[in-house]
Symmetry: C2
Amino acid sequence: MREPQQDRSRATRQRLLEAAVESLAEVGYAATTVAVVAARAGVSRGAAQHHFPTRADLFAAAVEYMTEVRLAEIRAQAGRLPSGPGRTEAIVGMLAEVYTGPLFRAALHLWVAASTEDGLREQIVRLEAHVGRQAHRALLDVLDVSERTPGVRETVQGVLDMARGLGLAGLLSDDSARRRGIVRQWSRILDRELLSGPVGG
Amino acid sequence: MREPQQDRSRATRQRLLEAAVESLAEVGYAATTVAVVAARAGVSRGAAQHHFPTRADLFAAAVEYMTEVRLAEIRAQAGRLPSGPGRTEAIVGMLAEVYTGPLFRAALHLWVAASTEDGLREQIVRLEAHVGRQAHRALLDVLDVSERTPGVRETVQGVLDMARGLGLAGLLSDDSARRRGIVRQWSRILDRELLSGPVGG
């Protein structure tokens, strides 16, 4: 008879984590208190505090959860990519979508908050290193290139930074038309770079 | 006899704007109150409120000031760029420096705060559009390319987004070694792209 209770507890925890990410993305770090997240999740404050005694605990877990969701999204989308011409543009477009979605927005709020809050900084630095490595590997995989080829590592990392910059550019206003043009052009550049071997070597 | 007083008033205003940018970069948006900025500038709170009656006034002026400082920095550095080989890397390196400095950090705090504060959003959207256009034009100028060539506009905008992403990546930890590698590689890509004409026909 313990199973259903464990399931309920897991479902409550999951709702709290989702609510924390949603709240961060929508109202930012300062306004995302445990009470706000509990209300959003439809959970009593007592139950929320049972799962996450402090706000730092809640964010640490939400950060873990965000990582898993982001990586699962990337893996799921990667399997549905077309082959042949248009594949690179689909990949770069997918990347731009991940970095303009609510998870990046939530992460951005934590990122900026962490720059002035020492208690948060260490966790977020660790998260971003982890996510950065995973995104880098996933991108090498779907592009089917090896970073043993000189320059490929830095080319691909620059594309990830570009996606991060596009995420920032889309934070306050609709940047989708400009973004589409950049995704198309840089996909062509990437095709040419990755097919033509090391640059300047 | 009015001149010295006007000078003093201008100097006080300037100190307040510099202090606002420094404070934003160091302690973030929430902690940057008018009182904090006045103390940092060594100005009485009354004098600060004479110049900037509200916090919104202070940020609006600081945002203007940041724009001017950023653009003056770019123009000053552009005049000292080398010619011939290495010029593109010097340009992209300069860009990465601008986007990892305290002005970008201050702007980033305002940017993220503006995403959840309607009163700030409009001003920051206008600022970023203005700065983005100016940075785009400055980059076309120093690279000596025209956006009438198909693809050049999107290539150059992607580099600006990449620089923005580098700024974000350097917010919480020292990212300079990784950044140098990306700057070098993307400069080579840029040289090849801009010399070889439109990509993909």
